[in-house]
Symmetry: D3
Subunit: 299 residues, 6 copies
C-alpha cells in the first residue's frame, strides 16, 4: 500500500514560463525512457520478484521514488506552460491569404507567434496547460515500454540501460535551456540517475557474486544444449573487416567460457527453405505442379 | 546496400506441425525483444553512428545477421502451421445450444478442437498460414521498441539487455516444446544469443577502455553540475530495511567516484507545489480567491 | 513524494491456481478501465489541479490508493499462475499429423492441454508467470486511456464513468470464478468501487453547489455565443420515432435553461460543400474546369 | 442501413485559410473525445443494446448525427489548409549553415516560414491538404477510445463525460481563433454539445426512474457480496486532511444506502505478499532456501 | 448529413451461437481490412476529394454502404455470442493443483471448457457479449489503417487492394464455419466485395481514360526530373536468377514509356556514407580524431 | 541470409542542413508507406510465398533493395540535422513573461528560433541528431502497416498501391525542398518507384496470364456460393445521382462475368435486428418484458 506526502522530493520552480520547453520535458515523463517507464518497470519487477527479499524491497523502494519524479516534472510543466499564448497575433499584412493570418514586424508578436504555433496543441486543448502521459511528440506512454521478466539479471541490465538513456536525455534537456530553476531541478534528477546507474551496476555485482545468475543469461540453461561451436563467433556480414578490430573479435570471451573467433567470410549453414503447400480453403497462391512437402533437414 | 542468399543461416525443420507453438514463436519475431527489434536497433545504431569505424561496421554486421534470424523463424512458423485445422468438428451432442457447436468424445476431435480454438486467428484469416510482424498475442512490432541514441555506451547497454531478454525468451520457448527440429534450430539461435551477450559486454569494455565513455552515462557531462550530495544515496521509500542489505547500500560506488549511503528515513527536500492560476480562456477550474502566482523557490 | 508499506491494502490468496483466469484479471490491471487508468488519471488530475485544495488533496489520496490496487491484482495474478503448464501432453494418437501433437483420452491431460493452449503466452514467455501492464487480450495500457483536462466537472464525470465501468468489470469477473479467495479479494475491490462511484457523485454535487461549474460544461462559456436555437433539439436521424419516448425528447432541459424539442424529420441546414482547388505541387486530382474557389457561407 | 445527404448539417466556411489552426481542429475529429469517438461509441452502443427500443433508437440517432459532424470538420480543415505554404522562403543570410536555410527580414516571409515549419507535415505529404483520422499531434484515432458495455447506465455516464470533454475542447478551440466563419460553425457544434450533455443527463434520469439501473453500477449485483464495511469510507492516503472537507467525507452517501466515513490514518488490512516459487523451466530468479509456497489468507 | 434505416442491408441470423467464431468475425469489423477501414477510407477520400463530382459522390455512396456492413457484422456477433459460457466447469479430478481447476470426462463439459477458455475475454468482460472495435486478436482499429491522399489513382489502387484483402478474408471465414445463417450473410458480403473489386477496377479505367492520372502515379510529375536510367531496371539483389523469368524483367514496361532491364549483378552507385560529427551538447560518441565534415557528393 | 556492402545504392549529400526538412523525410522511412513498410512487406511476402519460385525470388530481391533505401534516407537525415540549433536565442525584450523567452529583431535569431521550435524534439533528445523508426509526426512504424496474405494477386495489388502512395509522397517531398543534393537523391528513389509501380503491374499481368489468380480475388472461390444477384450492383446511398455517370455504373463488369447495374433507390433487404437477451451475470441492461429470443431469418 502507498502513501503520499504533499511535499516534492526536490523542486525549484522555473524562473520563466517556456511552453516550447514544456513540450520537450514531456519526453522525461512519458517517453520510452521517461519516469513513467522506470516507475512502472521497477514496481512490476518488485511485484513479480521471487528472489531474495532485499531485491524485492529495493525494487519497490526505487519504484516508489520514481512516482515522485513524475510529480516533480508534472509540476515543472504546469509552471512552464503558465500564461502560454493561445493564438497568433492578427495584425500586419492583410492583403493576402496567408499574410492575413498573422504578422507584423513587431518582434514580440513574432515570438508569440512562434510559440503559439509550435506548442504541443494538446497542452492547451486537452490538458488545459497541464502535463500529459505522453512523450515530446505527443505519443502516449504504453505498457510495452517496460519489462519484468522474473529473471533478475536480465531485468537489472534493462534497468541499467533505462537509467543510461534516461540520464542522457535529462542531460540533453539540461543543455537545451538556460533557465536556472529548471536546471536546478534537473541537476537533482541527474544526480539521482547517477545513483541509479551505480545502483544497477551494484545490483548486478551483488547478484552475480551471490551465484544466482551470471553471463549468459539465463545461466542455468545447460550450455551443452546450445550449438556451442557458434557461441563465440563473430560473423562478418559485410565487405571489409573493420569489425575485426574490436574486443569482441578475439581473445577470451567475457563469460570466461570460450574464445572469440572472427568469421571473415561466413557462409550459410542451412539450405534454401521449402515452404509447405498452401491450404486450398485459405486461397493462397500455390505452385500447381509442386510435389508433396519434403522438408530437408539439417544433419 | 544489401544482398540476399537464398540459403538460411541455419535451419532444421520441425518434425511435426504445431499451430499453437507457432503462435508462441511469434514472440521471437515481433515481440519487444524479438528479432525485428535487434535487427532494426542495430541497423539504426549503425546508420546513426559517428564513432570509430569498427563500431559502425560491427553494428551493421550484427544487424544484417539478424535479418536472417527473422527469415529462419518465419520459415519455422510456416512449417509449424502446415495443415492447421480451420474449424472445430461438428458432431456429438446436438441437443443444446452450446453442445451443438462442437463435440464428440473422440480424443482426436478434442485435440483438433483445442487447436482450432486456440490458434492465433490471424494466422489463418490474415496471413494464410504464414508469419506476421506481431508478437505472441498478435500485437504488432513497433518502432518504439528500439533506440539509437548516438551515445554508444547507452546503446550497448541497451543491446546487452535486449540479448539477455531475447536469450531468456528463446530458452523458455525451448522448454515449451519437445520437437527435435524446433529445438535444433533454437539451439543455434541460443548460441548466437550467447555470443551476442558476450559481444556487447566486450564492446562495453572496448569502449570504456578507449576512454570514450564510462559510468555514469554520459560521462562527459560535468558532474559538478549535478547535485552531487544526492548522487550516491539510496532512499528507502518503504517501511522496513531489507534493501539496506545489498551492495548498492554501502561501500564505494561502482564508478569509483563516491560512497554509497543508505537513507533510511528520507524526507522530501521540496515544498508542496503551488500551481499557477488557470487560464480563463481554457475554462479550467480555479480557486476563486487565489492570490497571484507566487512560486516558492528552493534555496 | 510517495512511500510504500509492504502490506497489501487487502488480500486473500486464491485457493487454487487458474492460469486462464489470470489472463482475464489482466483487464482489471491494464484495461481501458483498469487500475492503471484510475491511478494515473487521478494522479495527473491532482498534479494539474488549480482548484480548491480539498479537490487536489482528494484526487491525490485516491490516486495513491489505486497504486495499491494494482499491487493487489499483480499479487493475485502471480498466485493464479503458480505451476501453470508450459506445454501440452504428447501422447495418444500418433498416426497423423495433427493427432501427433497432443492427445490422449485422459481427462487430466485434456485439461492440461486446454490450459496450456489458451493461456496468455506472454505470461510464460515474457513475464515468467507474473503480471504485465496489459489488458486481457495482451494489449498494453497506454496514456490515451486517461484524461486530466483541468476542468474539474468534466474530469469528475470522467471519473464517475471510469468507476462505473470498472465496478461492472470487477463484478463480471466475480461471476466468472468460484474461487473463494479470489472472490474475497474482489469483494473488497467492488466495495471500494461502490465508494468511488459515490465519491465522484459527491464531488460533482460539491463542485456544482460551490458555483464553480455546472451543466453544460464548461458553464462559464457565454451561452449567447452558441447557436441556442439548436441547443435543446433532439434530431431524429432515422425512420421511426421510438426515440421520441424518452425524457430527452420533451420537457424542461436538465440544465433548467431550455425545453427539449423533438425534430422528427430533420433537414440539413448547410449546403453541399465546395472543396478548394487542389495544390498542383501536391499532385492531387483536380477537376480541370473547376472555377476558382467560391465557398458559400451560411447567412 | 445508412443514407447520405450531400448537404452538411450546418456550415459556414472560414474567412481565411489557417493551416496551423487546421492542425488543432484535428483534435475534434480524431482525438480521444473527437467526433470519431462519439460516432463510433454511440453506434456500437446502439448495435449492442438489448434494452428498451427507445434507448436503442436514440443511440443510433445520435450516432448517425455524429457522422455528419466529422464531415463538417473535414470540410473545415480542407478550407483552412487551402493554399498552405509547402516550403520556407530561401532568401536572406546565406553566409552560414543555418542562416542559409531560410530567412529575410520581410515579415511576410517570417509568417510563411512559421506556418510552413509548424504545420502538421502529414497534411501536405500524406493527405494532400485534407483531413486525417488523427488528433492534433497526429496520433491516430483508435478503437480503445470507445466503450459499449451493454450496461446502459455505465455507458450513459461515459457519454456524458465524452460530451463534457468534447464541449470543453470545442470551446477552447473557439477561443483560439478569431475567424468568424470558424466560430460560426463551432457555435453550432457547441450548441449540439449542450444538447448532448442534457440528453445524457436526461437519459440517466430516464433510466434510473425506470428502475432498470441505479448507483452503484451495476446495481443488481447483491451488495451483501461486497465488503460493505469499506463501501463508504474515504481513505486519506496522504499527510494532511484537506480532503476531509468535501461532501464525499461525511454525510449520507449519494446512493442513499450508507454514510460517508473519513479514515484519517488508514492502515493496510492485508499482509505482505508471499509470492509463489519460480518455475525452473522459465529461469526466473528464485531464493534458493525458500520454503514451499504458503500463502497466508485473510481471515 | 446521414440518415439511418433500422433495417439491415441484408441479414440471416446464425442458426446457433458460436462464441469462438464471433472472435474471428471481429477481423471483418476492426481488422486492417475490415469494414471500419473501408467505411472510413471511402468517407475521408470523399470528403477530401477535389476531383469531378461523380468520384466524390461515388466515394461517399460506397462509404455510406459500408457503415451498414459494420452494423450487419455487429449484429451477427451478438447472435454468435448468445449464451456464451462464462466459466469452466468445476468437477472431476480434484486431487491436484491443475486438475482441480476444471475437468470431467463429460464431452459436454470439455466443449464448454474449450469455449470458455478460448473466447475473446473482452467479449464478456468489456462488451457484455457485443461486438468491439477491434480485430480477431483484440487489437483496436486505428486511423493509420486508412489513406486519403487526394490523388485518386493512388487511392483507387488502395481501395482495390483493400477489397481484395477483404474478400479474401471473408471467403476464408466462410470456409471456417458450417453455419448456414452465417454463410448466407457472408455470401451477400462476398458478392458486394466482388462488386467493389470490379468497381475500383472500373474507377481506375474511368480515371485513366479521362486523362486525369495514369502510371506512374503521380503521372504529372515531369519524368525528366527522375533518374530515368534506373526507372525500368530490375535489380537482382540475390544469388540466383529465378527472378529473371517474370514479365517485370524484360519487354516493354507497363506504362509504355520504357523497356524492362534485368540487372543481374548490381553494384552500389553511391559511396560509403560519411556521417557528420556529433553535437557535443548531445553527448553522442564521436571519433576523437575525426576530420571536419566532408561529405562527398555524387557527380 | 543477408550481406551488407558499405556503399549506398545511390546518394548525393544535401548541400545544407535543414532540420525541419529532416522531420518531414521521416515520413519516407517510418510512415505508413515508407521504406520500412515496403521492405518488411516484401520480405514477409517472400518468406510466406508458396507460389512459383520466380515470385518468391522477386519478392525477396526487392525487399532486400528496400533495406538499402532506409539506409539512404537515414544518412540523409543525419546530414540534414547536422548542427541543428538546440535552443532558442535568449535576447531582446525581457520585460514580460513571454517576451523574455526569446526574441530579438535579428532575422538570424528569428530563423534559429523557428527551427529550434519546430524540429522534431526526439531528433535531439532521443536520437542525438539521427533518424528514428517513426513518421513525420513521430508516430512509430508498426507491423500492422504490412500485409502478406499468401494470395499473390491480393498482395501484388497491395504492393502496387504502396508504391503509388510512396512515389506520391516522395514527389511531394521533392517539391518541398530546393536543395540540389536532396533532390538528386530523391530523383533516384522516385525512379525506383516508377520501376516498382511498373513491376507490380507486370507481376499482376504475369500472374493473371498464368491462370493462377484473377478478378475477383480469390478467384477460385465458387461464385455460385455468393449472392450473385448483388455482385454487380452499384447502390446509390445518397440523394442525387452523380455517381451514375461512372464506368462502374453501367456496361460489362471488369471481370467479364456480369453487367454493372445502378440501383438508384436502394432499399434494405434485411429486417430490423432482434438482439438476443442479455446475460444476467454480465449485468447488461435488458428489456424486462422481452419475449424469448426469436431471430427472424432471411428467406
Amino acid at each position: 500500500m502507498f502513501y503520499h506526502d504533499k511535499r516534492l522530493q526536490y523542486y525549484t520552480a522555473p524562473e520563466r514560463p517556456d511552453p516550447l520547453y514544456a513540450k520537450k520535458v514531456q519526453e522525461l515523463i512519458g517517453g520510452t525512457f521517461g519516469e513513467m517507464t522506470v516507475m512502472m518497470q521497477y514496481l512490476f519487477q518488485g511485484w513479480n520478484c521471487r528472489g531474495p527479499a532485499k531485491y524485492r524491497d529495493m525494487l519497490l523502494d526505487i519504484g516508489t521514488e520514481e512516482i515522485g519524479h513524475i510529480e516533480m516534472l508534472a509540476t515543472m510543466i504546469a509552471h512552464l506552460l503558465d500564461g502560454a499564448p493561445l493564438k497568433t497575433q492578427e495584425e500586419g499584412a492583410k492583403d493576402s491569404v496567408i499574410g492575413a493570418v498573422m504578422g507584423g514586424s513587431n518582434p514580440r508578436d513574432t515570438i508569440t507567434n512562434i510559440i503559439a504555433s509550435s506548442m504541443n496543441p494538446q497542452h492547451s486543448i486537452v490538458s488545459g496547460l497541464g502535463a500529459t502521459a505522453s512523450d515530446s511528440v505527443g505519443f502516449p506512454w504504453n505498457g510495452r515500454f517496460i519489462v519484468a521478466s522474473g529473471n533478475l539479471l536480465a531485468d537489472f541490465r534493462s534497468n541499467l540501460h533505462a537509467e543510461s538513456q534516461g540520464r542522457l536525455q535529462a542531460v540533453r534537456l539540461y543543455e537545451m535551456t538556460d533557465d536556472p530553476g529548471v536546471r536546478d531541478t534537473l541537476s537533482f534528477m541527474i544526480a539521482r540517475d547517477t545513483m541509479h546507474q551505480n545502483q544497477w551496476l551494484a545490483a548486478i555485482e551483488d547478484l552475480e557474486s551471490s551465484g544466482l545468475e551470471t553471463t549468459p543469461v539465463p545461466s542455468s540453461f545447460p550450455q551443452d544444449l546450445e550449438k556451442s561451436q557458434h557461441a563465440y563467433q563473430f560473423w562478418n556480414h559485410s565487405k571489409g573487416e573493420e569489425s575485426a578490430e574490436g574486443r569482441w573479435a578475439k581473445g577470451p570471451s567475457m563469460d570466461g567460457k570460450g574464445e572469440f573467433e572472427y568469421v571473415a567470410n561466413p557462409e550459410p549453414l542451412g539450405e534454401a527453405p521449402v515452404p509447405p503447400l498452401g491450404e486450398p480453403r485459405l486461397y493462397t497462391t500455390n505452385e500447381a505442379s509442386k510435389p508433396p512437402m519434403s522438408i530437408k533437414k539439417d544433419s
